[in-house]
């Protein structure tokens, strides 16, 4: 179940990052919204990981190299614009992917059909903030621009075929780019120009190669569970 692990890890890791915002959001409404998104993703992760094995063993007892999430979702939160840029790229991808999986006959169709409604909200949330920040003040525009730039090189990996997902990855990519381009235009922002795949491969998360912040994230996430081997919680 390569696909369940890949999609499950995406949801698990992004949920964790969003959970780090609790108590730090710029407005109270965003405490609620970010937690909502984190909870949706955690719910998806639990269903997907349970297709593979025991959800807690998979979440808490795997080493860094065994995780199959894309590198995009493990990136640190940074400022609010940084988080929104990551959300925009990922939720747009996830919505398009789940729409396609929901239409298919594969094992993820039921899950995808349910999740796509949640993800549509995540994408809507990210788009609204992209517009507000891009077309807000000079400072917010600049911060949003930096967030988009910083994550751009992690977006190539999103369209690497995942074994077990019957999806036309090329058209998925084209649909993603069209959508991102249109949102950024409306937000008075430019589509970043840098490379999206590099020789040293920004984006090999699906192969278990991650970035430095990810190890620290896992250390924090797993330490309590691992400190009490065999305990039930």
């Amino acid at each position: 179940m390569t696909a369940a692990l890949a999609l499950g890890d995406d949801a698990l890791v992004l949920s964790h990052r969003l959970g780090e915002w609790a108590g730090h959001a710029p407005v109270l409404e965003e405490e609620v919204a970010l937690a909502n998104i984190a909870l949706d993703l955690l719910g998806q992760a639990r269903v997907l990981l349970s297709l593979v094995g025991d959800e807690d063993e998979l979440a808490y007892l795997r080493e860094e190299r065994a995780f199959r999430n894309v590198q995009l979702v493990e990136q640190s939160n940074g400022d609010f614009a940084h988080t929104i840029a990551r959300q925009l790229y990922f939720s747009t991808y996830q919505e398009l992917l789940y729409e396609r999986l929901a239409r298919g006959t594969g094992p993820f169709a039921p899950l995808a059909a349910k999740a796509v409604k949640e993800v549509a909200y995540h994408r809507d949330h990210a788009e609204h903030w992209t517009l507000r920040l891009g077309d807000g003040t000079a400072e917010s525009h600049e911060r949003m621009r930096r967030g988009l730039e910083a994550h751009w090189r992690f977006t190539g990996e999103l369209f690497e075929p995942v074994e077990g997902c019957e999806v036309e990855w090329h058209t998925l990519h084209d649909a993603w780019l069209t959508r991102i381009t249109s949102v950024l235009e409306r937000a008075t922002l430019a589509v970043p120009e840098g490379p999206r795949r590099t020789g040293w491969a920004a984006g090999a998360g699906r192969q278990g190669i991650h970035t430095e912040p990810f190890g620290r994230m896992l250390a924090e996430m797993q330490h309590l569970h691992r400190s009490h081997p065999g305990a039930a919680w």
Partner: protein, 316 residues
């Protein structure tokens, strides 16, 4: 008597009659200035407690030891943010604004519940907070569902439902630990030992030294005295602690046939006053984090306002 004074007298009579008949006072109704000020102060303090209260529990979200517990904890912290939202909105019906109240919180002119100035040192603290702190909050807040001010009472109905979920989840978390490994049981006992006394302090000073109680009771903002509510809470907790297989750190705790209540030992009011004065373990940390989140969010709020102004849409 001038006409205006006569009118004021008539308004006051209507207000008094509504209180006497247990009717709700609504935002457009006339109310005494002192009643309004008392409500604003109490609701603001309550709203502030909800949002500051997110911090000690959010401290464990990234370390929650199972995905199920993580989901429960994230949902709980989210509920507390929601409670903050309802309560700030309810306070706004009295002519203040969330921004103004937050400024007062940040500058120390308004308070939040002192309980959140204690640290969450282990995972079991999440359970102890749910069981004891949410439990004490419910004991305090259920009577507020019948508070004379309509918007506050209605907000409390919604909030109390969620708080009782939190209380049960906290209890259930502690039960799992108590029945778990030796180390887990010890973790649960240690957390209860640390949270028990501060939870009893949540009901406020004893009745003979409570500054605002009498007037609030007359206005039907408050329905029971601090000591009554504290006793009710102790009576609920003792049998629950037994079911949990945990002890409460009070050697004087015993059932009194005569009173029909549990007797309990003296509360350390010096500690209470010290924490209230700002000298608790986490006062500085909590307010610093709150101010930092607010300051770091300023550019986001400015952006949203600028966007709304350009596009003529309501702000996020």
């Amino acid at each position: 008597m001038t006409t205006m004074a006569a009118d004021a007298g008539a308004y006051e009579a209507v207000f008094d009659a509504a209180l006497a008949a247990d009717e709700r006072i609504e935002p457009r109704d006339w109310m005494p200035d002192e009643y309004r000020a008392t409500l604003v102060r109490q609701m603001a303090q309550h709203a502030h407690s909800e949002i500051i209260g997110m911090q000690p529990e959010a401290n464990w979200i990234t370390r929650a030891p199972s995905l199920r517990r993580k989901a429960i904890l994230m949902a709980k912290v989210q509920d507390e943010a929601g409670h903050g939202l309802y309560l700030y909105s309810a306070a706004e019906t009295l002519g203040t604004s969330r921004g103004e109240l937050l400024d007062k919180l940040h500058s120390g002119r308004q308070k939040y519940s002192s309980i959140f100035n204690y640290p969450t040192l282990t995972w079991a603290d999440v359970g102890a907070i749910g069981w004891l702190v949410d439990g004490a909050a419910i004991t305090n807040q259920v009577p507020l569902c019948r508070c004379s001010y309509g918007p506050y009472a209605r907000a409390m109905v919604r909030i109390c439902k969620e708080e009782s979920f939190h209380q049960r989840q906290g209890y259930e978390l502690l039960l799992a630990l108590s029945r778990g490994t030796e180390a887990q049981h010890a973790m649960a006992q240690d957390a209860v030992d640390r949270w028990w006394w501060p939870s009893l302090m949540m009901f406020g000073p004893p009745d003979d030294s409570s500054a605002h109680s009498a007037q609030s009771m007359a206005w039907k903002i408050k329905r029971h005295s601090n000591d009554e509510l504290r006793q009710r809470f102790v009576d609920i907790c003792v049998p629950q602690a037994e079911s949990l297989g945990l002890t409460l750190p009070d050697p004087e705790l015993r059932w009194s046939e005569e009173r029909g209540h549990y007797d309990f030992g003296p509360i350390d009011w010096d500690e209470f006053r010290e924490v209230l004065r700002g000298n608790g373990p986490c006062n500085t940390q909590r307010i610093t984090q709150r101010c930092r989140a607010h300051e770091e969010g300023a550019w986001v709020r400015e952006a949203a306002a600028a966007y709304a102004a350009k596009h003529g849409k309501a702000q996020a």
